[in-house]
């Protein structure tokens, strides 16, 4: 069945990493990538799950569009969470970063390999787990107290950037009218290029 995955094989290789998705409108939960099981019982059949899968894929594309467009306020609408007031901070991988670098704050999701993606819908069609193979471009800001860095920030720089390919896993719950993201995690194959001074993982 295309819509299910071999979860246990993934779990064994995971290094625990936490992903935070926050925005001004919503606090989006951290999760451990290993917790990949869909909420609910047995998966629904392909035929029964198709409408839900299509809807989730569509919502995922909206999520990517808003994330890449840094429309964080609009991202909150896609999540099944209450808002908080934290500033946007997306996808914190537990990386050892060089001195003078703040935690990552932005990412872009690109290069979806759609033939590998899967959306497993629970039989009650109240929950689902989606896995999207993609690459994410990470940015981490340099400490801004230096004039040169402040100057760089004014032109959208003052950051270090790297790529991480892997699997973005999202768990979804059905609300009254639509599907909402419950949790997000990103199982990374590691940073590229290797981070200077990084132990990687």
């Amino acid at each position: 069945m295309k819509s299910t995955q071999n979860h246990s094989a993934r779990k064994a290789s995971l290094v625990e990493r936490r992903t935070f998705i926050r925005n001004a409108g919503a606090a989006l939960s951290a999760t451990v990538v290993a917790s990949t099981a869909a909420v609910g019982a047995e998966p629904a059949s392909d035929h029964d799950a198709k409408p839900a899968q299509d809807e989730i894929r569509q919502l995922h594309h909206i999520f990517v569009e808003r994330l890449n467009g840094r429309r964080y306020e609009e991202l909150g609408d896609l999540f099944d969470h209450q808002p908080d007031t934290q500033r946007p901070a997306v996808a914190h991988f537990e990386r050892h970063l060089p001195d003078g670098v703040l935690p990552p704050v932005h990412d872009y999701l690109v290069s979806h390999e759609q033939h590998l993606d899967s959306v497993a819908v629970a039989s009650d069609r109240r929950s689902a787990t989606a896995r999207f193979h993609c690459a994410t471009r990470m940015e981490a800001a340099l400490i801004a107290t230096l004039p040169l860095i402040e100057m760089a920030r004014q032109q959208g720089q003052g950051v270090i950037q790297w790529w991480e390919s892997g699997i973005l896993e999202s768990t979804w719950v059905r609300s009254a009218s639509t599907w909402k993201i419950e949790r997000l995690s990103f199982r990374s194959n590691g940073p590229w290029p290797p981070l200077p001074g990084s132990t990687g993982s």
Partner: protein
């Protein structure tokens, strides 16, 4: 252009080089009111721009309809070679003066709109019928005198012909070039394009050619040999200069609009001839031709005329003396950790540990006794004093037996710091002595550079030989990678100044600023370079640059709201190229 206005009446009888009383970054330009600007522009709008070269009559008697992609439509009727009628949808019909000049197949014309603070300068390629319109206006920024601009790309409508598909476009094809320009006004400038957002200019005639300055700039490709360039002297007079340049013939036709330091309006067309001084490298991927500017995570511009403009005093407002003292009392950081400016630093050197020596500087300079207790603790005293003071220092060995170190001079009323280069092989030393506070800004560093000798057991100092100022680096450009994500480029533009450029995400040059600088030759291919970020954040930076290893070491001395800091600097360089520019400087016989 009459440059005599910069001097008191009658004072320029002998002096041929026009040194201003204050350099551009020190002039307190008047905050002009909107009504004053409107009043000043009114006669210029009626008369059109002046021109030392006879105006072209290429447009006289013709009508043009220009359509642009953003919806701007300009319907012109040119009644003569200096009078036009403009019909803009939604704006009614106006009559104004104008002026036109041609360069090969390109015609440039410019006019203001009577009763307003705006106008248009239009560039038309008569072969392709493509047109680029620079809409310009005053009072679009909180400093009303700063000319704003918006670029509109379009074409001249030709009856019975389909609109052309091509457009003029932003480009990086000028990036890295440098020119000497001589206008028909007699004005000479050096102009360097090290960025796709900014450019560097040296006013040889208007300001004596001592310092370079920079301003936000546009670079538009008309065709492979013809380009449109503009810059605004933002944070200074706010004047706009723009011109079409022909790369093969090295000629220009252009327009200058703005108020000078005496608030006199200049609105004129010019022609010029140039000389290509060099082409330094630029660092975009090879397939990137610069049609779009990569502004990384900065939100795309949405307001008319919006673009990145570095306004250093907005992010680094001047402090009062009381604020300086309070900030320094609260926090003085000497070689703090986690410093991205030192990510590629040379290893710290223990060369001095255990040594005792005296540095003796000429001409009334300091004479300092040193005892270096460890690799990062020293004691010093002025010669003749009994009491030693202990300081934290850092030292590097940028070349064999050349040591560069820095520390604060505790107890000094101006929170002094020194950066000292000692060449033990030659018993020579140079000291850059920094102080916090100038007559312009309480938090701005000033510096004095001293040349002298080092006295130590086993060394005999020379009697006459000294390190000395040099112009050997002038014209060169070096990129400096301080840390991951933090790279700049230095262009050593004049013997007394330089510019630094921050790279955009795609490797193109981005924002830029300039400051006074000094260059000292320590040895062949080894230089001590210092700069002041005047009318900016006030930093004094002092580096030793080794052109053989393309690595530097140095210290930054800075006072701001966070207090006083003395911090390490270390970066790896790439040689980006050089300009043949030194011959334009130095005392000359006119």
């Amino acid at each position: 252009m009459d440059i005599r206005g910069l001097h008191p009446e009658g004072a320029a009888s002998v002096q041929k080089i026009n040194y201003p009383k204050e350099q551009m970054h020190r002039i307190q330009y008047t905050k002009l009111t909107q009504s004053r600007i409107t009043a000043e522009l009114a006669p210029a709008a009626l008369a059109g721009p002046s021109s030392a070269t006879p105006l072209s009559d290429a447009l006289a008697g013709k009508s043009l309809k220009i359509a642009t992609d953003g919806g701007l439509q300009l319907n012109y009727t040119f009644k003569s070679r200096n009078k036009l009628v403009l019909q803009e949808p939604g704006h009614g019909r106006i009559e104004s003066g104008y002026g036109a000049l041609t360069l090969d197949g390109v015609i440039l014309f410019s006019h203001l709109i009577p009763g307003s603070q705006r106008g248009y300068t239009v560039v038309i390629d008569r072969g392709s019928n493509l047109a680029t319109v620079l809409e310009v206006w005053f009072s679009g920024y909180k400093d009303n005198r700063e000319v704003q601009r918006e670029l509109h790309y379009g074409y001249v409508e030709v009856s019975g012909k389909e609109p052309p598909q091509a457009r003029h476009a932003l480009t990086n094809r000028l990036e890295g070039k440098g020119y000497h320009w001589r206008q028909d006004t007699g004005i000479e400038t050096l102009e360097i394009y090290p960025s796709v957002l900014y450019s560097t200019f040296v006013e040889l005639t208007r300001f004596g050619g001592e310092l370079c300055f920079c301003g936000p700039s546009d670079y538009v490709r008309l065709d492979d040999e013809t380009y449109l360039y503009s810059r605004v002297e933002a944070e200074f007079s706010g004047t706009m200069s723009l011109y079409v340049l022909d790369l093969n013939r090295v000629k220009q036709v252009g327009m200058r609009l703005g108020f000078d330091e005496q608030d006199t309006l200049h609105y004129y067309l010019f022609t010029g001839t140039g000389e290509l001084l060099g082409q330094i490298a630029h660092f975009e991927p090879f397939d990137d031709h610069g049609e779009k500017v990569n502004l990384g995570n900065r939100p795309p511009p949405t307001n008319k005329g919006e673009r990145p403009v570095y306004r250093p005093l907005l992010t680094n407002p001047a402090m009062t003396k009381a604020e300086v003292e309070e900030a320094i009392a609260r926090n003085t950081a000497v070689f703090a950790a986690r410093n991205p400016m030192a990510g590629n630093s040379l290893p710290l050197s223990a060369y001095l540990a255990g040594k005792e020596l005296t540095v003796r500087y000429d001409d009334g300079g300091p004479v300092l006794n040193y005892e270096f207790d460890t690799a990062n603790k020293l004691r010093w005293r002025r010669e003749g004093e009994a009491q030693w003071r202990e300081e934290t220092y850092q030292a590097w060995e940028p070349a064999p037996d050349v040591i560069f170190f820095g520390h604060l001079l505790g107890g000094a009323p101006d929170h002094d710091g020194v950066a000292v280069a000692i060449d033990f092989e030659n018993a020579l030393t140079t000291c850059v002595h920094g102080r916090i506070g100038t007559k312009y800004m309480a938090n701005e560093a000033s510096r004095k550079t001293w040349f002298g000798v080092v006295e130590m057991e086993g060394l005999t100092a020379p009697q006459y030989r000294r390190h000395q100022f040099t112009d050997e680096l002038v014209g060169r450009a070096l990129t400096w990678n301080y840390s991951p994500g933090l790279t700049s480029m230095h262009v050593y533009t004049t013997p007394h100044s330089f510019s630094w450029i921050i790279f955009l995400g795609g490797g193109a040059g981005g924002l830029e600023w300039s400051g006074p600088a000094q260059y000292v030759k320590l040895r062949d291919d080894l230089y001590l370079f210092n700069w002041l970020e005047e009318a900016c954040n006030g930093t004094l930076g002092i580096l030793v640059i080794n052109m053989r290893t393309l690595h530097d070491c140095g210290v930054g001395y800075h006072c701001g709201k966070q207090g006083l800091s003395l911090s390490g600097i270390g970066a790896q360089a790439r040689h980006a190229g050089s300009y043949d520019i030194r011959r334009f400087y130095g005392p000359k016989q006119a």
